[in-house]
């Protein structure tokens, strides 16, 4: 796309007008400049994020040598993986329930399942803090069982998103396919496994990606459910930002950004850029 159009602009080609391009360009700079600056400064040989003093990777060594930070990252990835698996199963099953059956109080059940999407994070965090205190949830278990409370909280706010994505995909399912499979002798389980699952596969991939990033991203709810021994990456970075700004945070953040970009590109390879765009 040349900046100055060679062919005359059609009336609806708004994105080819100059001011529109400047606007989009400015928004992209606004969105990306802070991240790019952060990534550049993670290689800066200075204690402060101010002046460029030469290239170094020592803060990466420091970040990777920081046992607490590495442990926090490992915790975060474990929680995200567990929460994604359970959310996928739970979310898919809930979507099938709401799509296939008519039952008493369906409206109430449907509303309650989508509530965790709407309720503010802070209120969910408070609710889990009180809940785990009220049931005396054990806090001194060995890894990975000590991550149970956080994982449960994450599943609760992730699986409604999976349900939402899977349900909109199920709307395009032709129920005659199911009947045909049954006429040909398939059991309920076989229909589910061989007919329904392949149909909702794109939604499952999108839901898994969404759950994983939501879980990895979450700070507020985790902040209220984590104990002193169960620090996740965002909670650790928060305390580093809050109490002592070190370039290690830049390095650790850059690693996380790279992880996000890598995940996005894996999703792109699996789904194509259009399909990913359409899930939002």
């Amino acid at each position: 796309m040349a900046l100055f159009a060679r062919t005359p602009r059609a009336p609806l080609e708004y994105s080819r007008t100059l001011w529109m391009r400047l606007w989009v360009g400015a928004v992209m700079v606004f969105l990306y400049a802070p991240l790019v600056v952060l990534m550049i400064f993670s290689f800066n040989d200075s204690k402060r994020n101010v002046v460029w003093r030469g290239f170094t990777t020592k803060y990466y060594e420091k970040a990777l040598g920081n046992d607490q930070l590495v442990e926090a990252l490992l915790n975060s990835l474990t929680i995200a993986a567990l929460a994604t698996i359970v959310s996928l199963a739970l979310g898919a099953v809930a979507a099938v329930m709401l799509w296939r059956f008519r039952f008493p109080l369906k409206g109430a059940v449907d509303g309650t399942i989508s509530l965790p999407i709407i309720v503010p994070e802070i209120c969910m965090g408070v609710a889990f803090l009180m809940f785990f205190a009220a049931v005396d949830w054990p806090t001194d278990l060995v890894w990975p069982f000590n991550l149970g409370a956080i994982t449960i909280a994450h599943i609760t706010f992730c699986f409604p998103f999976v349900t939402m994505v899977v349900r909109s995909r199920l709307a395009s399912f032709n129920r005659e396919q199911e009947e045909a499979a049954k006429d040909l002798g398939a059991s309920e389980w076989q229909v589910f496994r061989d007919v329904l699952i392949p149909h909702i596969r794109p939604a499952l991939v999108a839901g898994a990606l969404l759950s994983f990033t939501l879980s990895l991203d979450d700070f507020v709810i985790t902040y209220f459910t984590s104990g002193p021994d169960t620090i996740t990456f965002p909670v650790k970075v928060y305390s580093m930002v809050r109490f002592s700004v070190t370039p290690e945070v830049n390095a650790a953040s850059t690693l996380l950004i790279i992880l996000t970009v890598a995940l996005t590109f894996i999703a792109l390879k699996l789904q194509g850029v259009k399909a990913i765009a359409e899930t939002h």
């Binding site: 796309m1 609806l12 708004y14 994105s15 529109m20 606007w23 606004f30 969105l31 400049a33 802070p34 991240l35 600056v37 952060l38 994020n49 101010v50 739970l90 099953v93 329930m97 799509w99 296939r100 059956f101 008519r102 059940v109 309650t112 399942i113 509530l115 965790p116 709407i118 309720v119 503010p120 802070i122 209120c123 408070v126 609710a127 803090l129 009180m130 809940f131 009220a134 449960i152 909280a153 609760t156 699986f159 129920r175 309920e188 990033t213 990895l216 700070f219 965002p234 970075v237 945070v249 830049n250 953040s253 996380l256 950004i257 996000t260 970009v261 996005t264 259009k274 765009a277 939002h280």
Partner: protein, 301 residues
């Protein structure tokens, strides 16, 4: 084949409904109910809370201090939503009318920050806005340029540039929230604009309306559901925002979520925190009810 009655296939219904219902009740409804019950309780000691059915916590929430914080949170969230709408609408238009080749990449450009860690993004913005950061340097350079231009036409130069405080104030909170929530606004707007019947825009242009008039009279009314969705998706998390006001705000820029957090950490007043949480949830319900009312009105006519 429409929806099946649950009685016709109890075994399958049990298999899909029991795990879902178990989870949503035990790990969502029960925790929420505990918060609700505690909001009618009072502190009887350091860790001892009695649920006595008192309304004192709600009464305390109507004190001027808390009313102003609620009001301020609403004002900040509304301002953030408005800025996101003004900034995001042209972007959504540009994506909608971009060529086939470019559209997915523009969308990806908006979505990638959406997937990046919120804390990392907030921290990145803080680096840029710091008193020695690039935002300040940029403003300083502009100031220097203006000063030079003034001397060029024979006027007194401007006084030397003093770095301005861009962080730890209300401005930083609004900017930070806009930064974080902009993708939330653009994506639903794009979804609505993409469904638009383009021949209507062409008709409007053919009949002599200008581009601006066409956008205001044709595009905006037709995209109204998407605009409302974008507004809600931005407004609700902005209202409950904790991280941005906490990290980027000053002492006077606390929002309601920060006050709630303090009741559970420093102030250790769980019943009052529970009452504030539920007031925030009620506020969300009111917003959503208003939205669904708005949606139903045109159908009446």
């Amino acid at each position: 084949m429409a929806e099946q009655d649950w009685k016709t296939n109890r075994r399958v219904f049990a298999a899909v409904s029991l795990p879902t219902l178990f989870w949503i009740i035990v790990f969502f409804v029960v925790p929420m109910a505990i918060v609700w019950l505690y909001s009618f309780g009072e502190n009887r000691g350091l860790t001892d809370i009695a649920i006595s059915g008192t309304l004192d916590n709600y009464k305390r929430a109507t004190e001027w201090l808390y009313v102003t914080i609620f009001g301020k949170s609403f004002a900040v969230a509304a301002l953030v939503t408005l800025i996101c709408l003004i900034v995001g609408f042209p972007v959504a238009m540009a994506i909608t009318f971009a060529s086939e080749k470019w559209r997915p990449w523009l969308l990806l450009g908006i979505m990638l920050p959406f997937w990046t860690n919120l804390l990392v993004r907030t921290y990145a913005l803080m680096i840029l806005l710091g008193s020695q950061g690039y935002a300040n340097k940029g403003l300083g350079a502009l100031w220097g340029g203006a000063s030079w231009a003034k001397t060029l036409v024979g006027l007194e130069p401007l006084p030397t540039w003093e770095p301005v405080q861009l962080l730890f104030n209300n401005f930083a909170v609004v900017l930070g929230l806009v930064y974080v929530h902009l993708p939330f606004m653009v994506l639903p707007l794009y979804a609505a604009l993409d469904r638009l019947d383009r021949s209507l825009i062409e008709a409007s242009l053919d009949l002599g309306a200008g581009h601006f008039r066409t956008i205001m009279r044709i595009v905006v009314p037709l995209a109204a559901p998407g605009i409302v969705a974008g507004v809600m998706i931005t407004l609700i998390p902005a209202l409950g925002a904790y991280l941005t006001p906490d990290l980027m705000g000053g002492t006077d820029s606390q929002m309601i979520a920060n006050v709630i957090e303090r009741q559970f950490k420093k102030a250790n007043d769980w019943p009052f925190g529970a009452a504030l949480s539920f007031l925030l949830i009620y506020a969300m319900f009111i917003l959503i009810a208003l939205q669904s009312m708005r949606r139903k009105v045109p159908e009446v006519h």
